[in-house]
Symmetry: C2
Subunit: 154 residues, 2 copies
Amino acid sequence: MSGLTTQDQGYGSNVRPGCPFHEVRQKLRRVGLRPTRQRVSLGWVLFAKGQRHVSAEMLYEEAMKERIPVSLATIYNTLRQFTEAGLLRELTLDGAKAYFDTADHDHHHFVVEGENRVIDIPAQDIDVAALPAPPEGYEISRVDVVVRLRKVEG
Amino acid sequence: MSGLTTQDQGYGSNVRPGCPFHEVRQKLRRVGLRPTRQRVSLGWVLFAKGQRHVSAEMLYEEAMKERIPVSLATIYNTLRQFTEAGLLRELTLDGAKAYFDTADHDHHHFVVEGENRVIDIPAQDIDVAALPAPPEGYEISRVDVVVRLRKVEG
DNA sequence: TTACGTGCAAATAATTTGCAGTCCC
DNA sequence: GGGACTGCAAATTATTTGCACGTAA
């Protein structure tokens, strides 16, 4: 896959680290996840290596490429655990494939119709001015804006 | 593009306002879908009967309740055809279940975490003020705002 | 009539789960 | 050492598809 959208200028968490693995380990501990080999390695791919949106399958292939010994089932489990711990956010696209992205910053998404490509929109580029009050007994946990794109004829 | 209303602009003389089935039939014809028994019946459930968001399964149960003879496969086919024709919009929630809602008005959604409940937010209640320019070669086809709700402890 | 639509059941695709073996604290 | 974690394969769930038959134009 072309690194078109993986090429980026990095966020705050992308601290030119002395030891990314150590930071991932800490990050995991902080949210109560035991830093096992698989989790640390996958965390490294997700948080230190600049990967930003992945599907289970993409992460699995990435892991294979990096010689990380991990099974697809563990990928799924890990993605879910990370998401429950708040390290990732889930983004479900039409087409029944779930994507996950690093959750350390607020942002929204461009989604290209047809392809399954996702491009970040920095939070400050979208202004959701007015939000309705949630129904009685509920509170807003998160607001997602998905801007669907269509290729221009040409 | 967003001028679709249930109230149509008189196509022929055989418009019978007050006869929902006829209106559905016309609506289908207008988008090039042959108005078969199943499509008209499902269209009636979706457009005339006030149903607004349904999953395939929900629509199937609704159809059974209304004694509409239709198979689940046809439900899926029909939902997709309606969506491609612009009569419905697809909304994919975390949980790998697709929902569809009538597309005749702009609106956004509250989604209750855990449950698979969807509540409409009228377009005028959300103000997406600033939108970023789409990447070169793409145009915005649609903007979806999903407000996730969490039940308040009590 | 005749191409398009429908129903059934089997096929896919994405994701989850049960359980035996493994590893971290 | 002991409970949490992993891997495998089988199970689930949502959706699609192939093909014989039915039906609208």
